[in-house]
Amino acid sequence: MAKTKAKVKLTREEIIFNIITCTIFSLIVLVCLFPFYYLFICTISNAKLVDLGQITIFPIGINFDNYRKVFGIQNLLHSAKISVLRVIIGTSLTLLVSAYTAYFFTKQNMWKRKFWYRLVVVTVYFSPGLIPIYLNNRMLGLVNSFWVYIVPGLVSVYNMILIKTSIEAMPAELEESAYLDGAGYLTRFFKIVLPLQKPILATVGLFSAVQHWNDFFTTKLYITNTSLYTLQFRLYELLNQVSAAAQQIEVSGMDSAASITPTGIRMTLTMVIIIPIMLVYPSIQKFYVKGIMVGAVKG
């Protein structure tokens, strides 16, 4: 006890060190968070003042018109639905298939297991290239299909390796007792392995959900049918064509009074896309150190 007390007394060097590091880290935190804050205050400030660049640190003329009207952009609600569907279906199917693959690859007595495992894992390091993959998916009929969001990513090799490592760390006795009770592979997978792997599945699932939510390039590459656009892609489009969005609002019959502007709409849509990420972020944070460590151990 006396020892720890002695440690509390800081040397002069340490005090200077602490002041410098804390100042620098506070600045870094500010740089990281300010853009989020600034975006938010702009979306709730008077739109005209935002357009004129009058908003700097505090919101002026607080109103929520932007949020009320952002979904007045043509089909934006529909795009939101596509995004949500993609996240839910994509994440759950990827998890299921990756876990299934991982489970069977832990079975050492599979016929030519090593060969099949290599065949799968090598695909992480070697890609045929963007255009061949595009041509292949086009041949498979995935262009302008919702399933292009889901199917090509079904077996995520990286996630599969993470889950496999975790399953291998599980005591073998758990499965053995079920085996002796006569349970087949699938029963054991669903009834014993999956429930016990919840922590790693949650980690992998959150990361995969964020990936699905954030992707816009798949839409750009494969989708021309506007009813399949995701929110991210709508924002991408909006950024490329801010003025066109203003027209869309007029077309859709919303009164485009001065309370909303293309800039305001763009910022609000950005905010709308960030909010779900912010909501899951605390849970992600709880898991990511663990997840990365599992990966690091595996190498």
Binding site: T21, F104, N214, Y281
Partner: protein, 301 residues
Amino acid sequence: MKVKREQDFKLFLYILPVVIFIIIFKYLPLWGWSYAFVRYIPGKSLAKCQFVGLQNFRDLFSNPIMQKNILRVLRNTFGINFVAFLFSLLPMFFAIFLSEVRNKRFQKVVQTATTLPNFISWVIIFSMALSMFGSNGMVNSTLKALGTDAKVNVLTSNKHVWLTQVLLQQWKMLGWNAIVYFAGIAGLDQEIYEAAMVDGASKMQRIWHITIPQLIPTYFVLLIISIGNFLNTGVDQYLAFGNALNNDYIEVLDLYVYNLGIGTGQISYGVVVGTLKSLVALVLFFIANTASKIIRGTSVF
């Protein structure tokens, strides 16, 4: 013995659908490489396109416009990676100094704030950057309010494009990249530090002589991985931030392949460039792996 064999094969049948899936989605696309050897005409099937042998490859090296473009995108890919390399020690120092902070609460806040940007997409980051650095953005409004005529114009300028893009990458990924070093520091033996303190080593001396030497191997492994990966820049960031004004400096190899093959529909040339890229990337990967074997005794992959 026979029973066991059957058992083995039954297990394979469970994994067979996955193997078929992988073959269809990851190996079957290789047939697309054959487009490199034909003169592609949009709308025609591969079989009806004229076979031209290596002509497309020859064009690539003899056509002055193509040559100029390839050199330009290679320069950008190398340039951006080189600038990123200059920042590559930053996550390590970030982790070292943050772990020296005594206040655990503050540590946690810094980690939370700096890791958050890793989870938002490049499109969102571009939208944010536009709000900050656009002509009516936060930075320019503040400059105007301060009465200066200076304008910050990083998004629509062809100056310092590489640096801007790398700084944006740092903003997005510094906290995230530091996590692996945090894990490393957490695993260090505390007794060495105590011994050093008894010997009167100052904080900086402890960092310099104990922490850094133990983290350097991790740094080298990550560096080797990034060298092996440096052609795979992805397109998201450059698609989001690219525009007519900065295109000359922002178009990297991956983006060029996309623009060539999908944007302008020159599938054959796109495949030629993409194929060469895939092969070079594979060679780089093996070099990186061998280098790691020599330096560390184990392979990275």
